[in-house]
């Protein structure tokens, strides 16, 4: 029974965190695409590259097969890191907020944002934001549409806050959708009704992932891209794999 609860906490939190991460990434991509705002996936590389020695730099180039390949590894690593933090935040949210609320509120009260939920979201988002600003401070003056450093810094700082806020809002909202279906497990409802909301959340995540993938794919296929041309088939396959992972996670966390 205890194991079951942990599975639910991890499953629900991970799913909400995962989909919230996708929303955050979508906002980042939109800001990058529309306003030229720099994303952490790009800034982290710029922050780290000058700290490497020439030898380390060339060792990495050799290891990953070239400069473009190294950049892609860097971007993917940052995204994986963000995903991990996003899912961790989701699990933390369930542990701190969701578990208690599930026991003290009825289902209707769970839909919407409670004070504790908001507090957690604000603190978590603020912490992530401040840590990001501290780590990336030397490169915040980056702007891909041409603003000079001071104004670029403002755009980056506000853009990061907006993206992280999107994560927080999505986390809170999506968790309640997911948790609604889980809490019903204690009620005498037909098994086939269970997990519907979790599946809905996963579906929303799939759509958001597809939109994000399409937009970021547009970036990498753009003629001005500094990446090597991307294989469309590989992208499609990668997106299918993402969707499969969502569906698997949704089913794991919601199927009785």
């Amino acid at each position: 029974m205890q194991n079951r609860r942990w599975t639910e906490v991890v499953g629900t939190g991970s799913l909400a965190g995962l989909v919230a991460f996708i929303f955050m990434t979508l906002v980042m991509v939109l800001l990058r695409h529309g306003l030229g705002a720099a994303t952490p996936a790009e800034l982290v590389g710029d922050r780290l590259a000058p700290t490497l020695s020439i030898q380390e730099f060339f060792q990495l180039l050799e290891r990953f097969g070239g400069y473009n390949e190294l950049k892609q590894v860097g971007v993917v690593s940052v995204l994986i890191g963000q995903l991990a933090v996003g899912m961790f935040g989701g699990i933390l949210y369930v542990l701190i907020v969701g578990h208690e609320r599930a026991g003290t509120m009825d289902q209707d009260q769970q839909i919407g944002c409670g004070k504790k939920g908001w507090l957690f979201v604000i603190m978590f988002v603020a912490a992530l934001w401040l840590i990001t600003l501290m780590v990336l401070w030397p490169v915040l003056g980056t702007h891909y549409a041409g603003l000079p450093p001071a104004r670029a810094t403002v755009v980056t700082v506000v853009g990061l806050l907006g993206s992280y806020a999107a994560y927080g809002l999505a986390l809170d909202g999506l968790y309640h959708l997911t948790a609604g279906s889980l809490s019903r497990r204690t009620l005498p409802v037909p098994a086939q009704g269970m997990g519907r909301r979790a599946a809905l959340v996963a579906g929303v995540g799939v759509i958001a992932a597809a939109v994000t993938g399409e937009l970021s794919g547009g970036f990498t296929r753009a003629p001005h891209s500094a990446l090597t041309a991307c294989d469309v088939k590989a992208q499609t396959f990668s997106r299918l794999r993402q969707m499969t992972a969502f569906m698997w996670l949704a089913r794991t966390s919601s199927t009785p």
Partner: protein, 283 residues
């Protein structure tokens, strides 16, 4: 073009601004149209990547049109004590130039390349061209020219590149290539061809050796325009026997200094040494 970016900037001219600030009496901000309206010069300049090894091809030549940086600096009235110029790019890249070099009339903020607007990958709407220094100093998508009174390490300099970024004199064979087998018809001439480049010093002489640097023969310079641009050379060679030859090329710069034969890897200050190739002459 070697770019540090995952995705290069796509600059909107309406958003882009070029600031001149730091140790100046009057900060200036220029729009794209302001730059286009200023008196401009067109200049042929070769750019070479610091990673270009002996005989490699990370080097190219173009006609650049733009405004001498000194006009922008003069308009801002540099303060006493300013010694360096810190260049900022939209993509977060930074690099520094000595103020003297920035004030050189050949250091430009350019907006045209070979008669067209700068391509996006070459820094549209504006990039800095610094003749005689490696490509890393030629900052693309420049957004700020900041005068400072101390050396600030740039993006690659922090990794340990430098201290000097002055391009050493270099020359190379473009034909034939290393290990190539050449089969001239009886008595036919083999036209050895290549380029030579000596940064802002210019090339005055190119020589080739057909016997592994034992003796030297002056090559003919077929193309030579600006001091800051490469020259294209040619040597018509009639191989005496069908056998393997070791060919070497060297150049002399505008100061009269001969290209150094001492091999040095491209890290951290750019490669030096002669380009040596082996060719097989078949009967």
């Amino acid at each position: 073009v070697v770019s540090k970016n995952v995705i290069d900037p796509l600059i909107s001219p309406s958003v882009w601004r070029l600031e001149v600030r730091g140790l100046v009496e009057r900060q200036r901000v220029y729009r794209y149209e302001d730059l286009l309206a200023m008196p401009a010069v067109t200049q042929e300049t070769t750019l070479e990547c610091i990673r270009n090894d002996i005989g490699d091809g990370l080097m190219s030549n173009a006609f650049w049109k733009g405004v001498p940086m000194r006009h922008l600096l003069d308009a801002a009235h540099p303060r006493q004590g300013a010694t360096e110029v810190l260049l900022h790019a939209a993509a977060g890249y930074t690099d520094t130039l000595a103020l003297d070099k920035a004030m050189d009339p050949t250091t430009l903020v350019v907006y045209e390349m070979n008669g067209d607007s700068l391509p996006e990958r070459h820094g549209f709407p504006a990039c800095v061209i610094v003749p005689g220094l490696f490509g890393k100093n030629n900052v693309e998508w420049v957004t700020r020219i900041e005068l400072v009174n101390a050396h600030v390490k740039g993006f690659y300099e922090k990794q340990g590149w430098g201290l000097s970024f002055v391009v050493p004199t270099t020359s190379r064979f473009d034909y034939p290539s290393h290990s190539q087998t050449v089969k001239p018809v009886q008595g036919e001439i083999v036209a050895l061809k290549g380029i030579a480049y000596a940064g802002a010093r210019g090339v005055t002489r190119v020589e080739v050796s057909l016997d592994n640097a034992e003796t030297w023969h002056e090559a003919r310079v077929d193309y030579k325009s600006a001091l800051m641009a490469w020259v294209l050379w040619r040597y018509d060679w009639q191989p005496p026997h069908p056998e393997e030859y070791t060919l070497v090329v060297r150049a002399t710069d505008g100061t009269g200094e001969l290209q150094t034969p001492d091999y040095r890897s491209f890290a951290p200050q750019g490669a030096t040494g002669y380009h040596v190739i082996s060719v097989w002459i078949e009967a």
